[in-house]
Point group: C2
Chain length 344, copies 2
């Protein structure tokens, strides 16, 4: 790591031109005589010159950088979303970086703050406190003030006008799941859900009850199984609760693919076969569905579309007030091997 960083001034002096000319060559903003261009290009290669993007961003007031802040970088859902956004942004000439908050409020706060100070052209926030069904006013205020300085987009319900929200259609996802299961002849359906006070979670739970009710399907309280997390162990816990039931439902919905794969394991460990003895369905349609055996049928979201909408909002140049405050991501059902038709 040498000390002296070479600048366009150094290049300019050695090539006998002005710094502005070097800048023009670098950016192709104005025509430059072939001779000078040639001379400068030679030096650029000679020194492996890399323009300082900090200085450029400071001057231009744009960095071509997008920051995506997620709750858990290790979560396959955010992973898929990041990958999709990254590709889409790259296509549009932006580089995207991922930051993780580990869902720790203070880390979340400081990561968002520090990233904001770095002045990316936009920050896309997914998961964490923004997903709370009961928004935290202080947090929203913080985001609001951030959004005055830069483009902010959230991957959930918009917390307030001026901050576009692009969210998965959680209600529809539950409808899809339930209509599929009932089309297979299931009437006794359980739901292993997470008690976390997140929007999508609450929405799915509410919708579940409402639909079951509307369809006049039996809804025993003990078939609504609350587990602590969105992970595998929680699924295992859910399975144990199911196994302990005097009368088991014929189909189970897991909160997400991880929970469902945990349920699957718990069930298998006790000799209960999926889908022979019980059908199982997941949400998110992540790669986890294909690690599980049998492969999990799951409700997924159109990630490329999600990414596109997120970026459209993030890179929108006009008046934020005119941008649609909320947009919805379509969901789909991916049938695999974990649900079976019920014999009549």
């Amino acid at each position: 790591m040498s000390q002296k960083n070479i600048t366009i001034y150094d290049l300019a002096k050695e090539a006998g031109v002005s710094p502005a000319t070097v800048s023009r060559i670098l950016n192709g903003t104005t025509a430059v005589s072939p001779k000078k261009r040639e001379a400068v290009m030679t030096l650029i290669h000679k020194y492996q010159f890399q323009p300082n993007a900090l200085a450029r961003a400071l001057s231009e007031k744009r960095s071509r950088l997008i920051a995506m802040v997620v709750a858990h970088a290790e979560n396959s859902y955010y992973n898929s979303l990041f990958a999709a956004c990254e590709s889409e942004a790259y296509r549009r000439g932006y580089v995207t970086v991922l930051l993780s908050t580990h869902s720790v409020p203070e880390t979340e706060e400081s990561v968002i703050r520090r990233m904001g100070e770095l002045r990316p052209d936009a920050v896309i926030l997914c998961g964490g406190r923004i997903d709370l069904a009961e928004p935290d006013p202080d947090f929203i205020r913080m985001l609001a003030s951030l959004s005055e300085r830069m483009r902010l987009v959230v991957g959930s319900q918009s917390p307030r006008p001026g901050i576009p929200g692009i969210a998965v259609d959680h209600e529809k996802s539950m409808e899809l799941a339930l209509s599929y299961l009932t089309s297979l002849g299931h009437r006794e359906i359980g739901f292993v859900y997470t008690g976390a006070p997140y929007y999508g979670t609450v929405q799915r739970l509410t919708r579940f009850s409402a639909i079951m009710d509307a369809m006049h399907l039996p809804l025993h309280p003990e078939w609504l199984i609350e587990v602590p997390e969105y992970d595998i162990p929680s699924g295992v816990i859910g399975a144990e609760r199911i196994l302990a039931l005097s009368h088991r439902p014929t189909a189970i919905l897991g909160m997400n693919d991880m929970v469902s794969s945990g349920i699957l394991q718990g069930l298998l460990a006790h000799g209960v076969q999926v889908p022979q003895d019980i059908s199982l369905l997941g949400f998110d349609d992540t790669f986890v569905t294909r690690i599980a055996a049998p492969h999990l049928t799951s409700i997924g979201y159109d990630y490329p579309t999600y990414a596109r909408l997120l970026l459209d909002a993030a890179l929108y140049e006009g008046d934020p007030g005119e941008y649609p405050q909320n947009q919805i991501i379509p969901v789909y059902l991916k049938v695999r091997d974990s649900c079976r038709r019920l014999d009549v």
Copy 2:
């Protein structure tokens, strides 16, 4: 998104002090009279002032930003590593961002370049061309010139002096795997490996043959099964090749957890039980081991240690020439349920 960004000049004017004083208050570099500090702090809160980190970094020549560039952000191995680095860096006052190259050479080149232009304090490069057993001279040259401008660390063998490399002890990992399997009484062992020309891959394969040879264990060429990728489908392919064997080994090593879980599925699909009929072992010890049923026994690496060494190297202030060029990450064996003792 309003237009005018508030600066320390604005604060200074309104508080009746100089910009330098505001800067001092912001950084606590010099004592400032309580009165002025008070006045300025009030304004900071009033305007929710956020200093511009670009300007600060440009001036200070340090950003407290670390960039980690990996081949596949979706890969659980890189995920675990990023999470560990992120935590460790956060503890040291740095924010870490993750960039993915999707293992596409040109993307890799441009992502590294653009990230370099952003002048993070260090970039940690993991996976991709840097892992090639036969290094690409042009790529190494590019890295070398990058490393003259900033601290560069690679998560593999050091490609050249001045660029510290921290790598997993691949040879040891194979030794561990094989000594465990033989301790269980296995002598007939197969290896489903990826043909990719990566360092760790080649090293493991070489070591596998060498150890089998040294231990006088049978090594049929058809037990060395090459598959195309590091993913689940490749594991399934591997399983099919195993099933087609006239004489099957009693234990199988998969290239990583994904491949092993694919093998597991392929085997189960044909009624071959793990570990009853065949034992199975993975590498990386990612969460995939716990999604598989039975849970996979796997060789893992000490991620917190890995992260610590990576960051020690990344944040080392002294002469890079004096920093150890290569360091090794210890590996461990995590026994779960996919291997059984062979009856004698």
